[in-house]
């Protein structure tokens, strides 16, 4: 006897799972369940790892990535580095359903979202701005993801220029954990 319907999610994000289950329980599709479930995380910011106001980049901007895949048709919709739109997985669903493409990125993905009726607004919050300010002004931009550049990115902020000498091994600092992940 198959154990279906069913939904499984990464990490301990219960509210998203509950929403996805509600969709499945009432006869909704798996696609709807994934979209609506993940949308809860985007709205509730799920430990700062999903949605607006989390994980600012080097410029202090939050951008969003999302993917949705239909296992029945093998159709895919995805957005990467989506700027100024909160509902990333719904924009991905629109890529799936309103284009023959699979993946839109950056500012041009934002233009697509705007055409599809999504509000365009800043994803920065006071908390994410403060986090970025601390990293920039108090922590000397540490950690960061640069290597083989000068000034030494392990101690300094940019802008950087490349160095050609690679005789010294630069170990990658561990920056990914349960509070900071893809």
């Amino acid at each position: 006897e198959p154990n279906t319907p069913i939904v499984i999610t990464t990490w301990n994000f219960k509210n998203s799972t509950i929403k996805a289950w509600e969709v499945l329980k009432t006869g909704g599709t798996a696609l709807d369940a994934v979209e609506q479930g993940a949308s809860v995380c985007e709205a509730q910011q799920c430990a700062g790892t999903v949605g607006f106001g989390g994980s600012p980049d080097e410029d202090g901007e939050t951008t969003l990535d999302a993917l949705i895949m239909d296992g029945k048709t093998m159709n895919v919709g995805a957005v990467g580095a989506l700027r100024r739109v909160k509902s990333a997985i719904s924009v991905a669903r629109h890529v799936l359903e309103h284009s023959y493409h699979s993946f839109l990125v950056g500012e041009l993905a934002t233009q697509f979202a705007e055409q599809m009726g999504f509000p365009v607004e800043s994803l920065t919050t006071p908390k994410s701005k403060q986090m970025w300010k601390k990293w920039r002004n108090e922590d000397n931009c540490q950690p960061n993801f640069w290597m083989y550049v000068k000034p030494d990115p392990r101690q300094n902020c940019g802008p950087y220029t490349k160095i050609t000498s690679r005789h010294q091994h630069w170990a990658r600092p561990q920056k990914v954990d349960e509070h900071n992940h893809d």
Binding site: T4, V176, H181, D182
Partner: protein
């Protein structure tokens, strides 16, 4: 990141992810989450999978695709997830990440690396409530 896989009453499967990525990334960077086969993958004939962790490393190994393909070859979901994680760990022993896998019959499993244990949430008709499960890494 949240990664999610669902099977509905018709037996159709979907998978997806949503994330704001790594903290203080270089502008323009994306990780594994939006890459089909890396962040998530689904195939009605087999099942689906989703991944989370260090996206710069994980996207190089398409772990969600690999987990689904392992299930296609007959592996149980837990074994499929373990294979996908082990493939990455063989090259990057210090990486942190996890994979959840869900077969079309509703069996599921997870595997992880680089943290003590990994939590994931399941909701099905057996329990009628969502439950958090853990897998040791």
């Amino acid at each position: 990141t949240i990664g999610m896989v669902a099977v509905d009453r018709q037996g159709d499967i979907a998978a997806g992810t949503s994330t704001n990525g790594a903290r203080f990334k270089m502008p323009g960077r994306i990780g594994d989450s939006p890459i089909p086969g890396a962040g998530a993958y689904a195939d009605n004939t087999v099942g689906g999978a989703a991944a989370t962790g260090d996206g710069d490393v994980m996207l190089r190994f398409l772990p969600s695709f690999l987990a689904v393909e392992e299930m296609r070859r007959g592996a149980a979901p837990t074994a499929a997830a373990e294979t996908a994680v082990a493939r990455i760990a063989a090259h990057y022993p210090a990486f942190m990440g996890a994979v959840v896998a869900l077969a079309k019959d509703g069996t599921y499993g997870a595997a992880c690396h680089g943290i003590h244990q990994f939590p994931f949430v399941v909701f099905d008709q057996k329990a009628e409530e969502c439950r958090t499960e853990h897998v040791l890494c």
